[in-house]
């Protein structure tokens, strides 16, 4: 198999899987659909590995392969191909995407087993992975935008998967609208580039950027800022972050897929992919880095106070993506993508473990109701610990090395990047706190009612009636909207990892990877698998690739270890030794808690300044404009015209043969007259 073929097969597998599942639909038994979906992605992973092997066989100075099926546009010197761009970066991405997605599919096959829409679910899931792969493999910006929009559409379908839940459809719409704002930015940015350079494929863009623009030229900066808008919207960075926590309305494996392997990493990939242009527009890159730093702090701070288990992890994702955006914008490419990979592992794992807990809780997601799951769900607990250690960058776990590589690269640039460096370490402390807050609250302490049910009976707790946890008071199911068991929760039976082999088998490899994945890029050049692998992609960087400053590196590692261990000890103190401490802090600093719990008032700000005016205009348009002008004038006018016209025609249709003949002859005389007059 040639390197020109294997990436196409990577793309084809999920597409074929999606089409098969979607077209056969109800004819498929659920287990078959799940198997097809999982196998399709697994096969894509195999082809991704083949692509990797073939790519490594190429000489390192020419490790790029473009392959095209046909021209989409070939007009007046503009050539846009349906082509792929295979280089170490995109290969790295497809490996992570297909690898993690395979495990998430496997997990879903267990978790969603009794859901009514199981078949539809797998069609969506495969479509999602296909879109993401298309985005990653695209050989030009047009194809990238197509994949980008597909990902947005797929996220909409999956977030509002339980479409009978109003809150879920609202969340889906929110995610879609914000993504479309990003799409607009991306398209406009692309047009800006096209206007000056006249090309859209990566090869020409990268080769021609330095001649087409002055360094930091305003047009280039504007173009890159617009593209950043796209990246921010997809990656949930400030100020486009509000959709991500709401996207928790989707099934838990979907959250896992969106957060770990696909969607939100698209922005990181985009910046890394266009690094040549971003480096040539340092202003735009600086904006990206600063926004990333802000996001990691703000999201981390919100994560500290959220009580919905999935939302805490969602804010943690936002914060970690903030690191990556900051990293790749500050030219910390190895660190950025290294962290993206380890984050994919441990975040997928954390979501899977959270799904298992939520199952055992009977759909209740509030940390306030959880406690003592340590004994009830030992396997889940172990996985959550592995993911938690990795997320909080505990020494020797994968997240420790990736986050440090990232911050080291940022810090090594000196100057104002020190501020980002510091923000990264402050965020690291936040990370440790919110991670261990989740763990201590969910797993330590006396078993809660639901955990006791699991311990006593070996079956998941079933509430008397299912409620939508996103309505009413999240701690108290009796205040929530009641819904039937086919909606809003994965099926009638609640599957948790201890009882479902698919879920266990998906979590074990991720747990192992979350612990050990750091070995591919150890500090001080002990191992540099990833930096060597990505080097051909970033060979043209004008910033030092993998700086050599072991003093700084050592300082970072020690600082990071101290932060992780001290913060963990503090967290243990706050939530286990003296459980009242957090409430006391909250009472001391009510304004801070209020700020965090209201998500820094971003949602309220948008609600007042964007959503309400738009809703008001829409209301006016539908009440006045549509009723009077569209319905009254256009529709009423058109139908009135047709009615009057047909009444006139009907009057001619008398049924009298002779009047018809008169019409024919009259018509003939008029035609003759016309020719006579014309002949004059």
């Amino acid at each position: 198999m040639s390197i020109a073929l294997s990436p196409w097969l990577v793309l084809a597998c999920p597409l074929v899987g999606m089409l098969t599942i979607a077209l056969l639909g109800k004819k498929l038994s659920p287990s078959v659909a799940g198997t097809i979906g999982t196998l399709a992605i697994a096969l894509a992973f195999v082809f991704a590995v083949i692509t990797l092997i073939k790519l490594q066989a190429l000489p390192s100075n020419a490790r790029v392969e473009t392959t095209s099926l046909w021209d989409l546009v070939n007009v007046d010197g503009v050539k846009i191909q349906l082509g792929l761009y295979v280089d170490p970066l995109s290969t790295f991405m497809i490996l992570v995407v297909t690898g993690v997605s395979t495990l998430i599919h496997l997990y879903s096959a267990g978790y969603m087993q009794t859901d009514e829409g199981y078949v539809r679910y797998f069609a969506y899931l495969n479509f999602f992975v296909f879109s993401m792969l298309l985005l990653v493999l695209a050989g030009n910006l047009v194809l990238l935008i197509i994949g980008w929009a597909f990902v947005g559409a797929a996220s909409y379908m999956l977030v509002s998967y339980w479409y009978r839940r109003d809150t879920a459809t609202a969340a889906g719409i929110k995610a879609f609208v914000i993504n479309v704002i990003g799409d607009i930015g991306l398209v406009l940015g692309t047009l800006f580039l096209f206007k000056t350079m006249g090309v859209l494929d990566y090869g020409h863009l990268f080769a021609g950027a330095h001649t087409a623009f002055q360094k930091d030229a305003p047009e280039l900066v504007i173009a890159m800022l617009l593209i950043l808008v796209g990246a921010f919207a997809k990656s949930a960075q400030i100020p486009f972050q509000t959709w991500l926590p709401d996207a928790m309305e989707g099934p838990t494996p979907v959250s896992s897929l969106i957060h770990a392997a696909t969607m939100v990493t698209a922005g990181v990939y985009l910046i890394g992919r266009l690094h040549v242009l971003f480096e040539w527009a340092p202003t735009a890159a600086a904006v990206g880095a600063i926004v990333g730093a802000l996001t990691l702090l703000i999201a981390g701070s919100i994560g500290l106070v959220m009580t919905d288990l999935k939302r805490v992890i969602a804010y943690s994702t936002m914060s970690q993506i903030g690191y990556m955006i900051m990293g790749v914008s500050a030219a910390a490419y190895v660190g950025g993508f290294f962290h993206m990979m380890t984050h994919a592992f441990f975040k997928a794992l954390l979501f899977m473990a959270a799904g298992s807990i939520i199952s055992a809780m009977g759909g209740n997601q509030s940390l306030n109701n959880m406690s003592g799951f340590r004994k009830a769900l030992p396997f889940t607990f172990a996985c959550f610990l592995a993911g938690g250690f990795a997320l909080s960058a505990f020494p020797l776990f994968s997240g420790f090395f990736s986050k440090d590589t990232l911050l080291f690269e940022v810090g090594a640039r000196g100057g104002w990047y020190w501020a980002l460096y510091a923000a990264g370490y402050i965020g690291a402390a936040f990370t440790v706190f919110y991670t261990w807050r989740m763990i201590f609250r969910a797993f330590w302490g006396e078993p809660c009612e639901q955990a006791q049910v699991v311990i006593d009976t070996g079956h998941a707790y079933h509430p008397a009636e299912h409620t939508n946890p996103h309505t009413g008071n999240e701690d108290d199911p009796s205040t929530q909207e009641v819904e039937d068991s086919e909606v809003g929760f994965p099926g009638k039976e609640h599957k948790y990892a201890e009882k479902t082999w698919q879920m266990r088998f998906a979590m074990i490899p991720l747990a192992i990877l979350a612990v050990v994945a750091g070995v591919i890029e150890l500090p001080f050049g002990i191992t540099n698998v990833l930096s060597d692998f990505l080097k051909p992609t970033f060979a043209d960087t004008i910033v030092t690739y993998m700086p050599d400053n072991s003093g700084l590196e050592a300082f970072g590692l020690i600082l990071s270890s101290v932060i992780a261990i001290v913060s963990l000890a503090c967290a243990y103190w706050i939530w286990v030794r003296k459980p009242g401490t957090s409430a006391a802090i909250q009472a001391r600093l009510p304004w801070l808690h209020k700020l965090f719990i209201n998500k820094w008032y971003f949602d309220d700000f948008y609600s007042i300044f964007v959503v309400r005016p738009v809703v008001w205009i829409g209301q006016w348009a539908s009440d006045s404009f549509e009723r009077v002008i569209i319905d009254g004038a256009f529709i009423g006018g058109t139908s009135g015209l047709v009615k009057a016209g047909s009444a006139a025609v009907r009057a001619i249709q008398t049924g009298l043969i002779r009047s018809y003949a008169a019409l024919v002859i009259g018509g003939l005389s008029v035609v003759l007259l016309y020719f006579l007059v014309r002949g004059l």
Partner: protein, 231 residues
């Protein structure tokens, strides 16, 4: 000499045509047409079209007209003789206007044309012009397709005529047992037969819905225009 013959035949032909239009008794109309056709055949002769002239007399004035006479005899003039000019409706006035307009326009077109050949007696003719041999040759060479199509048309028409008028044909089966819905005669159809008038007037397109406005009343038939009103 030709001049004289032309006028005689043309006047006879026109008189025959006028007779067809104005005579009340259909039988006389047919006879008038026969006269017209014969005069026309003579005009053809003046134009050196001997074969067509003979065919006109044999086929038209002979065979076709005999068919007409048979049908007139069978159907009769009708109980009510055709009331020519009786009802001077707008439509009839209009009809005359149109006819006159067409004639005027045709005349202007003919006389005003720049086709100089129209003012001549015609081209010099070959010896075979208009002879049966010449016609036969043309029919079987240049105009074979038209010839074959015409034969096919005749065959179809013959079959059609038999099907229409045959006593055992489909249409004759329910003779004298006309359903009001399907009869050709104008009778008010029951509601909900789906005629255009119903569709437009909004009555009983399907089964009539109980409309509070019509409660307690019979659903009214759409007002239909009768034949008498139209005249």
């Amino acid at each position: 000499m030709t001049f004289l013959f032309f006028f005689i035949f043309a006047i006879i032909a026109l008189a025959g045509a006028a007779g067809v239009v104005v005579l009340r008794n259909p039988f006389y109309c047919v006879l008038s047409l026969v006269v017209h056709l014969i005069a026309l055949a003579l005009l053809f002769l003046l134009l050196e079209a001997q074969f067509v002239a003979v065919a006109q007399i044999v086929v038209y004035a002979g065979a076709v007209m005999v068919l007409y006479v048979f049908v007139v005899a069978y159907v009769g003039g009708g109980d009510k003789p055709d009331q020519l000019w009786s009802a001077g409706t707008r439509q009839k006035a209009l009809a005359v206007c149109f006819a006159v307009a067409i004639f005027v326009e045709l005349a202007i077109a003919l006389l005003g044309t720049a086709l100089s050949a129209l003012g001549t007696d015609g081209a010099k003719l070959s010896a075979t012009y208009g002879t049966p041999a010449e016609i036969g040759k043309l029919l079987l060479t240049n105009y074979l397709l038209a010839f074959e199509l015409a034969s096919m048309l005749l065959l179809v028409a013959a079959i059609g005529a038999v099907a229409l008028a045959g006593r055992r044909g489909g249409i004759a089966e329910d003779e004298g047992n006309l359903s009001p819905r399907h009869g050709l005669v104008h009778t008010p159809s029951p509601a909900a037969t789906g005629s255009m008038a119903e569709g437009v007037s909004g009555y009983g397109v399907t089964t009539p819905l109980p409309d509070p406005q019509f409660e307690g009343r019979e659903l009214q038939q759409p007002a239909r225009v009768t034949a008498e009103d139209d005249r």
